[in-house]
């Protein structure tokens, strides 16, 4: 005897194992009245599902649109976050390049060639500067890939950049370059915002970093200007 419950599960193709399904299928093939029962059962249930759709009230539609608008304003898209991060990184690269470039008076005083090794710098300093340049170039390349990366790959890239950045910030500390270490560390939260979906916005962080970078660039420029007295770069 096939119950209505079994007929129903057979109809749904769900909740019966292969043996039970075969048993119901065989019975349906042999008993036309069972097939009629299944037909009536499904028709009744379809009737029960016939509640008419109600229109969405206008105020609810407006509420949804408003919520979406608010979200779109509060959370810049990944593309815009990536663009902002790229701009911030380029500013950092420029700043670091300016800070590492010797001032004109230094160039004039130095014997040629002007490499740090030739100027008497310790080998570890040369290796550090070479590594830092590679890190910055490598970070720029990785950041360029973020825009087209899949979410998993993007998360891995950002994680790798952050880890590498952390190591070079430590190296900058050891090389007695606190301002460079600070700039490198300031880049970390921007990178983290690219993968953290829960953050409301990274626009404020980016704006703050951009402001700090502009201040730093202005002071670096002033320090490198031969017309102004040489001063330490205080940030």
């Amino acid at each position: 005897m096939i119950s209505d419950d079994d007929l129903l599960l057979y109809y749904y193709r769900d909740g019966l194992d292969a043996t039970e399904r075969a048993r119901v299928a065989t019975a349906l093939a042999k008993q036309p009245e069972l097939a009629q029962r299944l037909h009536r059962l499904v028709a009744q249930l379809d009737t029960a599902a016939e509640l008419p759709d109600v229109p969405v009230p206008a105020h609810i539609q407006q509420r949804w649109q408003g919520a979406l608008m608010a979200r779109s304003r509060a959370r810049p898209s990944f593309r815009w976050q990536a663009l902002a991060a790229t701009v911030a990184l380029l500013a950092i690269l420029f700043t670091v390049w300016v800070s590492m470039k010797p001032a004109p008076e230094q160039i004039a005083d130095q014997p040629s060639p002007t490499s740090p090794q030739a100027a008497g710098a310790p080998p570890e300093t040369v290796a550090y500067e070479r590594g830092l340049r590679w890190h910055l170039a490598n970070t720029e390349q990785r950041l360029a890939k973020l825009d087209t990366a899949q979410p998993d790959e993007r998360a891995r890239l950002v994680e790798a950049i952050i880890e590498q950045n952390r190591m070079y910030a430590l190296a900058a500390d050891r090389a007695n370059e606190p301002q460079l270490a600070r700039v490198l560390r300031a880049f970390t939260p921007i990178l983290e915002s690219l993968t953290d979906e829960r953050r409301e916005t990274s626009a404020g962080d980016i704006a703050q970093l951009s402001f700090e970078l502009r201040v730093m660039q202005a002071r670096l420029k002033a320090a490198a200007d031969p017309s102004t007295p040489a001063q330490p770069i205080a940030l």
Partner: protein
Amino acid sequence: MLTSLKSWVRPDTFHAVLNERSVRWYNACLRITRDADLAADAVQEALLKAWDRRDEFRGKSELDTWIHRIALNSAIDLMRRRRPQALEESLDTEYLMAANSPHGEYVQEALSRDLITAMQRLTTIERQTFVLKHIEGWRLEEIAESLQTNANNTKQALFRAVRKLRVDLHVWRGES
């Protein structure tokens, strides 16, 4: 693929899908919650989640399916969190108003009344199981997971719902 992904970043495209499909999402949530406010909240939750992940969808169909499913899960969660005993009068009024529209006919109105009565006799888990299985086509395991129960309880809830509905809707047999 990049072209299709780029198009989804545009808010106006997203809003167009919202305008086109929101009635379906809203009514699916209404059948689960029988509460207009909860249904609206559920759809809104799903919309915002979809907006945050909009770069991942590759077409209207995928976006529609995703929002529909998340909205239903949100509706179930909201029912569980906020209103274990959701008020149902407002919904019933809405359904009857829909049946009374210029397109509605006497038969439709009578059927709607009987359906409302029949649905009211179901417990929450019976109604949700019936809607998710018969109307939405979810697997029993999926329903069990969403309702935080097991597959056997889900199956039994479905059987009870079907029996009650067949008794209450006996005048609306398939032949009618």
